[in-house]
C-alpha cells in the first residue's frame, strides 16, 4: 500500500508540473480554448486518444469482451477506421482549415459561425451543458469507485478529491495544460495495456494456443446467453439474434460512429498549425487506438481461459464475477498478473479517467462560458472576459456533474454513456458533416436536423430502446410496459435509427430554405468568388 501511495504521489506530481507548464504558456483566450493553435502532433494525437478512452472503455469493454468474446474486435477496427482514419484525414483537415478561417475557438462556435447563427452556437452549447455532465458524472462515478476500492477510501471523499485535482489543472492551464497532461496519461495507458496484452498471451502459451483454448470453451457458454445468440468466444453471434443487434448497433455503430461527433474531440483538430501536424498524428493515433481498445477486448475475452483453467476458480469470467462484468478486468489483474503490475494498472485506470474528465470539464466550461453566455446571451460584446467566463463555466459544469455523480445509481455507467453518444451523433453529426462538405446546407436545415436528432433520440431512449427505457422508467410509468416496440427494435440503438432521420431532415430542409450568402461560403472554403 505504501509503494502504491508513493507511485501515485509521483504520478500526481508530474501531472501538477505539466499543468503548471500549461498555465505558464497560457497568455490569451486562443491559448486557453484551442491551445494557441500550435500543439505538437504527438501531444494532439495522444490527447485525442486518451480523452476518447475513459475508464469505462477499458474496464467496460474488457468486461463486455469477457461476455461476448473476440467478435467485439470489429469495434477495434471501426475505432481506428472512424476514430482515426475518417476523423483525422477526412474530418480533421477540413475542421482545422475551416475552423481557423472562422477563427472558431470551440465546436459550437465552429457550427455557429459556419452557418451565421448565434442561435445554433447557443443551442449546441446548451445540449453540451445539459448532457455532457451526465457523461462526465459517469466517468466520475467509475473513477471514484476505483479509488474507493484501491485506496480503501470513502466514495464521497474519493469523488471530491478526484474532482478537485482535475479542476485545479483544467481551470488554471486551459486546453494547453489539459492536452500536455493527456499526452502523459495516454503514454502510461499505452505502455500499461501493451504489458497487459503481452503477459496475457505469454501466460496462455502464445497467440494461437490462447485463441484455441478460448475456442474450446464454447461448450461453457451459459444457456441464457446461448438462447440469445452466443455461439462461443471466438465466433460471431448468430445473425439477427439479440446479441448480434446489440453488438452491431450499440458497440459498433454507437461507439465507432459516435466518436466522430464528440465536441471535445472535434475541437482538438483546431489546435494544430497545419495539415502537416494532422498527417503526422494519424500514425500515432492509429497505433494508440489499436493497442488500447484491442488489448482491452483480447484480454477480456481471454480472461475466460485463465479463470476456467485456474483450479481456484474453475469457471468462466461471468460466473467468477458474480454476473457483474465491470468486475472482470480488476479480478483478472489481481489474480493473474504479478503484484508490480497492479501498480501500473492503477496508473492506467487513473490516467484513463483523468484524461477523459479533464477534457469534458474543459469542453463544458467553454460551452457554458464562451458559447452560451458570452456569445449567445451577451452577443459577443465582452471578448476580454472569455477566459474568466470559461473558468466560471468549468466550475458550474463540474458542480452539475458532481451533483449527478452523488445522486445517480451506480449501474448508470453504460446507460449514461449510450445517452450522451446517441445525443451527440444524432444532434451534431449531420450538421458537422454539412458544415465541412456541403456548401448548400442552410441555417434552417441545421436547426431542423438538430431538433429532430434531439427529440428523436429522447423518444427512442425513453420509449423504445429497452436498456435505457427500463432504467429511465417513464415508459413503464405511462404505459405499464418497458418498451412500446417489439423485438428487434428494443435492442437497436438510437444512433442506427435517429441519426439517418436527422441526416434526411437536414438535406430536405436545406433544399427548400434560404441559402447562406455566396460570399460567406466562398470565405469559409477559401474559394475565389463565384466558384
Amino acid at each position: 500500500m505504501l509503494t502504491l501511495t508513493i507511485v501515485v504521489i509521483i504520478y500526481l506530481s508530474v501531472v501538477g508540473f505539466l499543468g503548471y507548464c500549461g498555465y505558464r504558456r497560457t497568455k490569451s483566450a486562443l491559448d486557453y480554448l484551442v491551445a494557441g493553435r500550435d500543439i505538437h502532433p504527438f501531444v494532439m494525437s495522444i490527447s485525442y486518444g486518451a480523452s476518447a478512452i475513459s475508464t469505462s472503455a477499458i474496464i467496460g469493454f474488457g468486461g463486455a469482451a469477457a461476455l461476448f468474446g473476440l467478435s467485439l474486435l470489429w469495434l477495434t477496427l471501426l475505432t481506428v477506421l472512424f476514430g482515426i482514419i475518417v476523423a483525422f484525414i477526412v474530418f480533421g483537415k477540413r475542421t482545422r482549415k475551416i475552423g481557423h478561417r472562422l477563427d472558431a475557438h470551440t465546436f459550437p462556435e465552429f457550427l455557429g459561425r459556419r452557418f451565421k447563427s448565434r442561435f445554433i452556437q447557443g443551442a449546441s452549447a446548451l445540449v453540451i451543458f445539459l448532457f455532457m455532465p451526465l457523461y462526465a458524472a459517469v466517468v466520475l462515478i467509475g473513477a471514484a469507485r476505483f479509488i474507493e476500492t484501491t485506496f480503501f477510501m470513502n466514495f464521497n471523499v474519493a469523488l471530491l478529491i478526484y474532482t478537485l485535482i482535475i479542476c485545479a489543472y483544467v481551470i488554471s492551464g486551459g486546453l494547453k495544460g489539459t492536452m500536455y497532461i493527456d499526452a502523459f496519461q495516454g503514454t502510461i495507458m499505452f505502455i500499461g495495456m501493451i504489458i497487459l496484452l503481452a503477459i496475457t498471451y505469454l501466460k496462455l502459451g502464445g497467440v494461437a494456443p490462447a485463441h484455441q483454448a478460448l475456442s474450446q470453451l464454447a461448450t461453457q457458454v451459459p444457456d441464457k446467453l446461448a438462447r440469445i445468440g452466443h455461439l462461443g468466444w471466438t465466433r460471431m453471434p448468430a445473425l439477427g439474434s439479440n446479441i448480434w443487434w446489440t453488438m452491431i448497433t450499440t458497440f459498433v455503430m454507437g461507439v465507432g460512429v459516435g466518436v466522430l461527433a464528440q465536441p471535445y474531440l472535434a475541437v482538438r483538430f483546431m489546435t494544430v498549425k497545419s495539415a502537416k501536424e494532422l498527417n503526422r498524428a494519424v500514425g500515432m493515433g492509429g497505433v494508440f487506438f489499436l493497442c488500447i481498445i484491442g488489448a482491452a477486448f483480447i484480454v477480456g475475452a481471454l480472461s475466460n481461459v485463465h479463470f476456467f483453467n485456474d483450479p481456484k476458480f474453475g469457471q468462466i469470467s461471468l460466473a467468477v464475477s458474480g454476473g457483474n462484468i465491470d468486475k472482470i478486468i480488476p479480478l483478472y489483474i489481481n489474480s493473474a498478473l504479478p503484484a508490480w503490475f497492479v501498480y501500473v494498472f492503477t496508473l492506467v485506470i487513473l490516467s484513463a479517467a483523468m484524461s477523459s474528465s479533464g477534457s469534458q470539464f474543459q469542453a463544458l466550461g467553454a460551452a457554458i462560458g464562451r458559447d452560451f453566455f458570452e456569445r449567445a446571451i451577451l452577443g459577443g460584446r465582452h471578448n476580454k472576459y472569455t477566459v474568466l467566463a470559461t473558468r466560471i463555466g468549468i466550475v458550474l459544469g463540474v458542480l452539475f456533474a458532481v451533483i449527478l455523480g452523488y445522486s445517480l445509481p451506480g449501474n448508470i455507467i453504460a446507460v449514461g454513456t449510450a445517452i450522451f453518444f446517441g445525443i451527440c451523433a444524432s444532434v451534431f453529426l449531420p450538421s458537422y458533416i454539412g458544415a465541412l462538405f456541403w456548401k448548400g446546407m442552410t441555417k434552417a436545415g441545421v436547426i431542423a436536423s438538430m431538433a429532430v436528432g434531439f427529440l428523436g433520440t429522447a423518444f427512442w431512449l425513453l420509449f423504445i430502446h429497452q436498456k435505457e427505457s427500463e432504467a429511465l422508467g417513464l415508459c413503464k410509468f405511462i404505459f405499464n410496459k418497458p418498451s412500446l416496440a417489439p423485438f428487434p427494435w428494443t435492442v437497436i440503438d438510437a444512433i442506427a435509427v435517429i441519426m439517418p432521420i436527422s441526416f434526411v431532415t437536414a438535406v430536405l430542409v436545406s433544399l427548400f430554405t434560404k441559402k447562406l450568402p455566396q460570399e460567406h461560403i466562398d470565405n469559409c472554403f477559401n474559394l475565389k468568388p463565384g466558384k
Binding site: G69, L70, S71, L73, W74, T76, L77, V80, L81, I84, I85, I89, K93, K97, H100, R101, L102, D103, R113, K116, V207, A208, P209, A210, H211, Q212, S215, T234, R235, M236, K273, S274, A275, K276, L278, N279, R280, A281, V282, G283, M284, G285, G286, V287, F289, L290, G294, G380, H520, N523, N526
Partner: protein, 53 residues
C-alpha cells in the same frame, strides 16, 4: 481455414483488419510526413472578424 487459432472468418478478419488499419495509419503518416504545411495567416481571418462586427 483457421487463422491465429481462430476458425470463424468473421472473427479473424476483424483481428487482422484491425492490425492492417493501424499499419495503414503508420504508412499514411510517414508518406505524408512533410505534406500540408499551408497555414492560416492573420489576414485570412479578417473577413470573419468584419462579419461579426
Amino acid at each position: 481455414m483457421t487463422v491465429l487459432g481462430i476458425a470463424d472468418p468473421g472473427v479473424w478478419l476483424a483481428y487482422l483488419l484491425s492490425i492492417l488499419s493501424a499499419v495503414f495509419c503508420i504508412v499514411y503518416g510517414f508518406v505524408n510526413w512533410n505534406k500540408g504545411d499551408e497555414r492560416i495567416q492573420p489576414e485570412d481571418i479578417k473577413w470573419v472578424k468584419a462579419e461579426i462586427k
